[in-house]
Structures are given as C-alpha cells and as structure tokens.
Amino acid sequence: MTRLFAALAGSVLAGLAAMATAQAKDTITVGMVLEPPGLDPTAGAASAIREVTYANIYEGLTRIDAKGQVQAGLAESWSISKDGLTYTFKLIRGAKFHDDTPFACNIVKFSYERAMAPDSVNAQKQLFEPIARVECPDDGTAVVTLKRPTALFLFDMGWGDAVMVSPKSAATNASDPVGTGPFKFKQWVKGDRVEMVANPDYWGSRPKLSAVTFKFVSDPSAATAAVLAGDIDAFPLFPAPEALDQFKADARFAVHVGTTEGKTIVALNNTKKPFDDIRVRRALAYAIDRKALIEGAQSGFGAPIGSHYTPGDPGYIDLTGQYPYDPAKAKALLGEAGIKPGFTMTFQLPPPTYARRGGEVIAAMLDQVGIKAKLVPIEWGQWLDQVFKRTDFDATIISHTEARDLDIYARDKYYFNYNSPEYKALYKQFVEAVDPKVQSDLVGKLQQKLAEDEPNVFLFALAKVGVANAKIRGLWYNDPVPANDMTGVSWAE
C-alpha cells in the first residue's frame, strides 16, 4: 500500500515536472510607468512610444545597441563617400512589413521624405534636416545625400523617430502599428497594456520570446506589488527605488542600476513673467540642493548635472558647481528681481516618481527662500497637451530622455520657450563642424551657455533602476536611447 502510494506520488511529481519543462516560459510582461499616447514613434515626443515599439515593432536602417553603438538594422551595410555627403545603404533582402508590404528602397525614400516634409509631425525633425535627397538606384540600394557632413548621421538614423514605415499604414500606425520588426502588434487595452506576438515571417533571427506584454503602472506601490506577485516580470525603469533592498534580498529577483540619457530638469516657461528674468531662474537654481533632491526623490540613484547633458555623453563637462546650493544667494537674487516673499509658482507634475516626489522636495526647498510652490499632479496625456503642446505652465519637472539633444534649445519653438540667438549660432557652428576636436570644443561651449542662461534648472541624470525576475536574460541595463529591446531577451532554464 505504502509502496503503491509512493509510486503514485512519484509519477504525479514526474508528470508535474514534465509539464513544467514543457511550459518553459517564453512570454514576458514588462512594466512601464507611463502609457504612450500613441504607438507611432514618428509622430510624438513621448519616449514611452519608443520604449514600447523600438526594435520590437519598428526598425530603422541602423539601430542603437545596449551600449549606445550603431549596429546594422534594415541596412545590412553601408559606405560613405570621401566628402562625407553620400551614404549608400545596402538594404536587407526579403524583409517585409507585418501587413506583407515588401521592404525596399521606396520605403526608405517614403519614410525619410515624410519625416522631412514641412508638414511632418516627427518630434525630431532636426535629425532629417541635413538630408538633401534620397535616391533609389535599385530596390536593394538606398543613396542618401546630405547637405553637409553630419557626424552623428548613422546614430541619428538609429533613433526610434527614424524608423521605416509603410505608406499603407503610415496614417494608422498610432493605433495599429505596422513595422518590420520581430514582434507584431496584437492589441492595446487602453489604460492597461499593449500586447505583441512574435512575427513568424521576420527576416532576421527569430526572437526567443513568443509574446511580449507592456503593462502600464504609474503608482510606485502598485508597481512594487505587481513585481513581487510575479504579474510583471521586468520593470526596467522601476518607480520605487526605496523598495530595492527588498528585491535585492530576494533571490527571485535581480536588481540592475545603470544609466539613462534622462536629463531631469525643472522646465520653466521662459517667456512668462517672472521666469523671463535670468535672476529669477538663477535664484531657483541656487535654491535647490541637488544632492538632497536625489536622495529624497530617488533614494540616492542619479547624478547631479549642471547643464542639459549627462556625464556619460561625449564631450561632457562638469558644470554642477555653477549654482551650488545657496539659499541666501537665491533670496538676494529674488530680492533684486523684485520678487516678494510669498510669491506663488505652479508646478505641473507628471506621474513619474522623480516629478511627484521631487516636486515635494523642491517645494520644501523653495519654501526656504520664500517661494510658495503650488503642486498640481497631472496625468501624462494632460502633460503632453497642456505643458508640451500648449506651453500653458509656469514650471514642470520632467526628464528629457533623448540622447545628446542639445538641439532642443536651438529650436524656434519648443515648450520652454528658450530663445537665444547666441545659442542658436553656436549650435549651427556645432552641427557644421567637421573636425572632432572643434566639435567637442563646441559641445563644451553649448553646455556652458546653457548653464550660464539657466533656461531650465538642471537637476540630475536619471538612473536606470531596474527590477526583474532573476531568470530573465538579455535585458538592457543602460538606456542609451529610450527602448525596451526585447529581441535578445530570454528565460534561463
């Protein structure tokens, strides 16, 4: 009897074990704080769009890898003419879109010309501005001619904003994205998740995962609970750094701390009084203790910055000493500018922890210099509309995740309304410079000019604090571009 029972139990156990191996996990649920407003990376600035779609659904001619290096994408190779003006891309043969549109040179021409067009809604139009024309000698070759040598051109074409789109689906990509990538869009449950499944017709090596779900959880405690419960397998930009010790102590989870290109700033409306006064902006910079802010809002993860550039960027110079924490000086400057104690300014706070919690810390610091901060928490869609699009704000806290995006200060119209002819001239020199030495010299000058004018208060570079199931392999630990590239991700046995 006992033996029979043991035998039974043994076979049941063996059966269970067999089931477990048969069902080795090949799907993943990835947590994100912000839900993208749409899924067309060529028509929106929100980095959440690229965090969902980049390398998964859409691909460009080149791609940026986890280390920030340029790799071949839909162009398997390329050659550059001696004068640096003509790029000849040899395209992948046999690639096609999820709707069966074949990928060929006409797609490259369409995608780039669409992004360059005067009515283009691409959030990074400046990337395409150097392009003079795109020509198709044959289906498998694309020749891009530039107006001037552009050092970062291959890197730029690897951005999520420069992906290939099919003319057939370009208009509907925001709700029904169609790309050439290894994953096909399945469905988007608004307010909850985006699902995608492996593309059986993918031209390259098939990903190991059969399905990927991006789940949107903005509340830090809900995010913690979801990861602990296993509802979310990986949370690459985890919003509750204070809960990390708990994950570190638990063998089921792995914690990774890396860097991002996220320049977290207090963006100020530079045309609105009194923020048009440089003394007021500098006073705000003196009034904020960046070290304490990082400690309070991010549990110590992050590096202070003094300009719109992160410590890992090429040509970075340390300008954090420009406005050391000095409340007395801040008060003096405010007094000079005629700001009376009790002056109230409004902060629009989008959902990420750095903004919501950072806002509370900054409010307390501003209180010390006699400024009353009114904190208004707003949803992400509202932020994009009210602050980013309509420029209807005093101040906001936001992280700019695009790599090396010094150009946003040179634009004629950008939401914080910085307008400096000197900066624009400097930036023009920078993009046209061919000599790397001159270029890096100019990158330094650009940073200095920004620190000098302090159009926004530069706070810190966002760390990439990620929590994931310890069995997951192949996640990115740094964010050279906003992305959750799932092509190399798999589960260990």
Binding site: A240, E242, A243, G296, E360, V361, A364, D367
Partner: protein
C-alpha cells in the same frame, strides 16, 4: 448630569482631543510639517522625533497634527454643506408633501444609486484635485443623506396635534417648520451630523490616498498612508501612525454619535 453613556464620554474625550490637536497644530507643531531634512530620513521614533521621520525626513508627529487640522476642516465643511442644503430640502419636502415630496425623495434615491466615494472621485477628477473640491464632493454626497433623514423625522412631527393646533392658529409652513418641527428633530440631526462627520473623515482620507484630496506639500493622513506603502518593509511605523489616527478619529466620532443617540433619543432613554 448623571453619567448616562460610557460611549458618550469616551467618544467625547477622543473627539475633543482630536479637535484640540488640530487647533494646536495651527499655532504650533514640534517641527514645521513640511520641512524636509533628507539627512535624517526614515528615522525611528526617538525623543527628538517621537513618531520618527518619513522618507523626506519630515517629522511624522508634526504631520499627523497638521493632518488632523486638514482632515477636520474638510470634514467640517463637507458636513456643513451637506446639512446646510440637505436639512432645508428635507424639511421643505416634508412640509409640502405631495409631488414635491416625491420628486425630492426620488432625487435622493437617484443620488444614492451612485457609490458615494466613486462620485466624489469623479467630481474631483472633473474639477481638479484639492482640499476645496474634496470638501465640495463629500458635501454634495451628504445632501441627500440629510434631506432624507430630515424629511422622515419631520413627517412624524407634522402628524402631531400641536402642529395641527399651530396651523389652526394661522402659522404658515415655514413658521411651523422653524418653531415646531426643527427643534423636535434636532436630536436626530445631531446624531446624524456626528456620523456623517466620521464618514467624511474616511472619505477625505480615501480621496487624499488616491491623490485627489488635500494637495502636497500640506500633509494629509490619506497621502501619508500612500507614501508609506512602498516603505512598508523599511519603516512599517510610517503606515501605522496615520492609520491609527484615522481609526481613532472615526472611532471617537462614532462613539460620540452612539452616546448622543442614547442620551438624546427619548425612546431609547425610556428603556433604561
């Protein structure tokens, strides 16, 4: 006065303590409740910080004290709005009767059909988060509660002989309501006010927990609970203090309401 009800005494003591804590916090707290001291964050309770400090180094005792004043003021205004509009509405319906009565009561039924807190969330989502809108949202939800209880209590009074006498003497609806009806239903209303007050505190805590009530940096119990959530493993006491504060406040007011009912309601009194 003879001690009629133990719950009245306990409830009154807790409620009075809360009111005085809230009052004191307006003039004095051990530390400014919004002052951040990152170096001393998440400190355990000690003589310098009796309740410890939170994730930004703010003194939890000071925050609890300031939170009492914000909770109480939200609840107070909400109850004033609810009773201020609900009682006249109910009294009017009772005085007129007929289709006016029906219309008012069906209106109340309609309002009751919506879960109160959800609708409060909707109102604050539409009008924007903030203590003012929270007061309004909770207050609006108190209107039908007061209207209904006033109406049903008043109907009983309207059927009494002295009302008939007053009517024969030529008094109008308003006169009878003010002179005869309201004084007679006052005990019922007082009890209801304390109960609604307790519910309003819970509602305020709920709204500020989801970020729709009192806005930062000013502390509120609900938000303190929310903030404490992710720190539950590192500093569990952070969640305990605001939780206990909310519980005590609600318990105190409920006991007070119970006690008042015992003392004021003649039917219950006779039974002793």
């Amino acid at each position: 006065m003879r001690l009629r009800s133990r719950s009245l005494v306990v409830g009154a003591v807790i409620s009075a303590t809360m009111v005085s804590v809230a009052g004191v916090s307006l003039a004095w707290t051990p530390y400014p409740p919004t002052a951040i001291d990152i170096v001393h964050k998440l400190a355990a309770p000690s003589p310098t910080h009796p309740f410890g400090t939170d994730h930004l180094g703010r003194d939890v005792l000071s925050m609890i004290m300031a939170g009492a004043s914000s909770s109480l003021s939200v609840a107070l205004i909400a109850v004033v709005v609810g009773a201020g509009l609900g009682v006249p509405l109910g009294a009017f319906a009772a005085a007129r009767g007929g289709w006016i009565d029906d219309l008012t009561m069906r209106g109340c039924d309609l309002a009751f059909a919506f879960p109160a807190l959800l609708t409060a969330v909707m109102i604050t989502a539409l009008a924007g988060p903030g203590a003012g809108n929270a007061m309004l949202a909770i207050g609006i939800f108190n209107i039908p509660v007061f209207a209904r209880i006033t109406r049903s209590a008043a109907r009983q009074v309207w059927g009494r002989d002295f009302v008939l006498a007053a009517r024969t003497a030529g008094r109008g609806d308003i006169g009878i309501t003010v002179v005869h009806v309201l004084p007679n239903i006052a005990p019922v209303l007082v009890v209801q006010i304390t109960i609604q007050f307790a519910l309003a505190i819970v509602a305020d805590a709920g709204l500020s927990y989801v970020g729709l009530g009192t806005q930062p940096p000013f502390p509120s119990w609900g938000r303190m609970l929310n903030d404490a959530q992710t720190f539950i493993w590192r500093a569990p006491l952070l969640a305990v203090f605001p939780g206990v504060a909310i519980t005590l406040a609600v318990l105190g007011l409920n006991l007070l309401g119970d006690g008042l009912q015992d003392v004021l309601d003649p039917r219950l009194r006779r039974g002793r």
